[in-house]
């Protein structure tokens, strides 16, 4: 047996390049369909789990898919906004707690999500450093944002203007970073979180400026109407909220009309959920409520169809690879005819010769299957993370 093993190993060493090519080809074609299935299923599970964690989303009337994708992944902002008064309507009667979302703005390419502290508990987000936002103007960074920007607690992040050329538009706001979230392997890693009121400050609905009652502000006054001072456009507005100017920040008009991108309702129980659904399905033409799992599920059906076509294609390639591999083995056997003759003449038995010939096939198959199994295991455990890392870099 040792002689057989020795001869087999020597054969493999001598033909290592050919065998390596065969192993690589068979490993890839046997792993690819399984790997693709695994990654697509894992991605689908992640997408669906995000949607399952967020069963209902309320938004302005429009595309349910755009609302779901925007609210779950902060990819795009819906075409129309909700009013803040809608959040109060949701909470009236105690049917549900409502979490506001406003993700119109960005900071260095990362979405700024205006929300309430309830969002952190809802998503079970934890901190690797720092604390949640407590005051107007404070920001917390997702793990990926912190990694890419290199920002730490105590640093600052500045919101991006929507358009370089719109000088009368949204002013950048410099926000202190008070917390960094631990990785959650979700879109929350790539977002900057602020209080909903901070996002309204970024929009310009709230601001802080010098006290117009002060004598030094006389040049900033257009006119006085009774107890009301009308300021002109030269009033300098603060672009950073600090302990010293926090008191000066205020909102004009009614908060009820301030914008939201979406609301995540958290119904008290199943009955409340049904009542809430019924309320929106009956009453509102300006607003909609979507079941995000259903919407994402429909999107995934399309993805699965594409996946199935790819898998069929890979399967056909696998068949052709198998045919080529068989041809290579057959040709290899033919070439080893002289070897078999020599072995027979030096006293090797028939079974020993067959075993030696079979070594090549068995070795290639065993190693391929082993590697394929390892790759499959690796894909199941690390595939999504690797893919995300590759896509990000």
């Amino acid at each position: 047996m040792n002689d057989l093993l020795y001869l087999s190993i020597q054969y493999i060493r001598y033909h290592s390049k050919k065998l390596f090519a065969l192993i690589l080809a068979i490993t890839l074609v046997s792993w690819l369909p399984i790997g693709i299935q695994s990654i697509v299923n894992q991605t689908a599970d992640q997408l669906l789990s995000r949607a399952e964690q967020t069963p209902l989303i309320i938004g302005a009337s429009g595309s349910p898919l755009e609302l779901s994708l925007g609210s779950l992944y902060f990819r795009s902002h819906p075409a129309s906004n909700l009013n803040y008064s809608e959040l109060q309507k949701v909470e009236e009667g105690g049917l549900a707690t409502a979490i506001p979302l406003y993700f119109r703005f960005h900071a260095q390419g990362h979405p700024i999500v205006g929300t309430s502290p309830d969002y952190l508990d809802y998503r079970k987000l934890r901190f690797s450093s720092g604390r949640p936002m407590a005051l107007l103007g404070e920001a917390i960074l997702g793990a990926e944002v912190a990694r890419v920007t290199g920002l730490k607690v105590g640093d600052y992040i500045i919101s991006s203007p929507e358009s370089v050329f719109d000088i009368a538009g949204v002013y950048p706001l410099k926000m202190p970073v008070v917390g960094i979230l631990a990785p959650s392997l979700s879109p929350d890693d790539k977002a900057v979180f602020v209080d909903i009121k901070t996002s309204w400050v970024i929009e310009g609905l709230g601001h802080g400026h010098q006290d117009l009652n002060n004598k030094k502000a006389s040049r900033q006054i257009l006119k006085k109407e009774g107890n009301n001072i009308v300021a002109n456009a030269s009033v300098r507005q603060y672009n950073e909220i600090t302990k010293n100017n926090l008191e000066s920040f205020h909102f004009h008009g009614n908060n009820d009309t301030h914008p939201l991108s979406a609301i995540i309702p958290i119904p008290k129980d199943k009955k409340s959920s049904t009542l809430l659904l019924g309320r929106y399905l009956e009453e509102n033409k300006d607003t909609q409520i979507v079941r995000s799992k259903k919407v994402i599920g429909e999107l995934l059906d399309t993805v699965f169809t594409v996946r199935d076509y790819i898998v069929i294609g890979v399967f056909i390639i696998a068949l052709s690879t198998a045919a080529i591999a068989l041809l290579v083995f057959y040709l290899s056997l033919q070439l080893r005819q002289a070897e078999r003759f020599t072995l027979s003449h030096i006293g090797a038995g028939r079974i020993q010769i067959y075993c030696l010939m079979a070594t090549e096939v068995i070795t290639v198959l065993l190693i391929s299957v082993g590697l394929s199994a390892l790759l499959t295991l690796g894909t199941q455990h690390f595939g999504i993370q690797l893919l995300q890392t590759l896509l990000l870099t």
Binding site: L87, F127, L136, N228, A231, F251, H252, F382
Partner: protein
């Protein structure tokens, strides 16, 4: 030779396994309290009293404002705000009281504005300045008088707002809350009637208030007066005494204090032969350890002092 190959393969396998392990970064736990106690925070003493009366037997009711600070002027620290994010309900007075809440990150679902249902009865401060930007711009908000509970009819509405919020959020305690609400409203009605009776006796007097915290009291009990800006523990200056003298001279005057004035002030008032009494709004708990009382008892004390005039 064969053993060498196996050893190398085994080592490679080990390296693969160790290299592919991922270390989770250290995480900070930001979860809330471990136990399931109901946590309710109130932001002034009357609300604390009302809430404790309605739910004190099944909820942990707190008033985080230190005893030596006027809750209307209290500015919470970051840690105070983070603690507020963890409670189940925050009872607000409304009317601009605790205005810091507009700049703090606190979920709106936990906030109960007890003045929401009588916004039309709030008293605007007439001298307050607002501003707008440009001729068409919206005005900023003016300020309202804060001590809504000094009008006992409004205090009753605040009690009802708290009871409704408690019943909605914790329906299992609804019956108990309703029962206690009825009892408390009855006591407040009695107090309201007592104030009316005492106020009728003071009709026609020249009332001077030591501090502008009685706007709702003045309106409810028909006791309009002039408000000074005096503190009971700070001796007024000469100019202030002259103003008081001018306001009270040759008139049947009564000076109403928000708390017991210092001995030196009492002596001066006695010298001026100016009557005074104490009607305590009790916005915060008393810090005197010997004064074991509650808000309602303090209001009864107010009534008693008015009766003793």
């Amino acid at each position: 030779m064969t053993n060498d190959y196996f050893n190398i393969a085994f080592l490679c396998f080990l390296v693969l396994i160790v290299g592919c392990s991922d270390e989770k970064p250290k995480e900070k736990n930001n979860s809330g309290p471990i136990n399931n106690a109901v946590l309710i925070t109130t932001l002034n003493y009357p609300l604390f009293y009302f809430t404790t009366t309605l739910a004190g037997d099944w909820a942990d009711v707190s008033l985080p404002v230190p005893g030596n600070i006027d809750p209307a002027l209290w500015q919470p620290s970051v840690n105070d705000i983070l603690a507020l994010q963890k409670v189940d309900l925050i009872i607000l007075n409304g009317a601009g009281y605790s205005n810091w809440i507009t700049k703090a990150s606190v979920p709106s679902s936990r906030l109960i504005d007890t003045s929401e249902n009588f916004v039309d009865q709030l008293i605007e401060i007439p001298s307050d300045t607002t501003h707008s930007h440009g001729p068409q711009g919206e005005h900023s908000h003016g300020d309202y008088a804060l001590t809504t509970w000094m009008d006992i009819s409004l205090a009753k509405k605040q009690v009802t707002a708290i009871a409704r919020a408690l019943s909605e959020k914790w329906p299992t305690h609804e019956m108990s809350v309703i029962k206690k609400e009825k009892e408390l409203l009855k006591k407040l009605t009695t107090l309201d009637e007592s104030y009316h009776a005492q106020a009728r006796k003071l009709a026609g007097k020249n009332i001077i208030y030591s501090h502008p915290v009685y706007q709702y009291f003045e309106r409810r009990y028909q006791l309009p007066g002039y408000s000074l800006h005096w503190e009971p523990d700070q001796m007024p200056n000469q100019e202030q005494w002259e103003l008081l003298n001018k306001l009270s001279h040759n008139k049947d005057s009564l000076l109403i204090w928000e708390d017991f004035p210092s001995q030196k002030i009492i002596e001066k008032l006695n010298h001026m032969q100016l009557k005074y009494t104490v009607i305590r709004p009790m916005a915060n708990k008393s810090i005197e350890p010997t004064l074991k009382t509650n808000w309602l008892e303090e209001q009864k004390g107010n009534h008693q002092r008015m009766n003793n005039l």
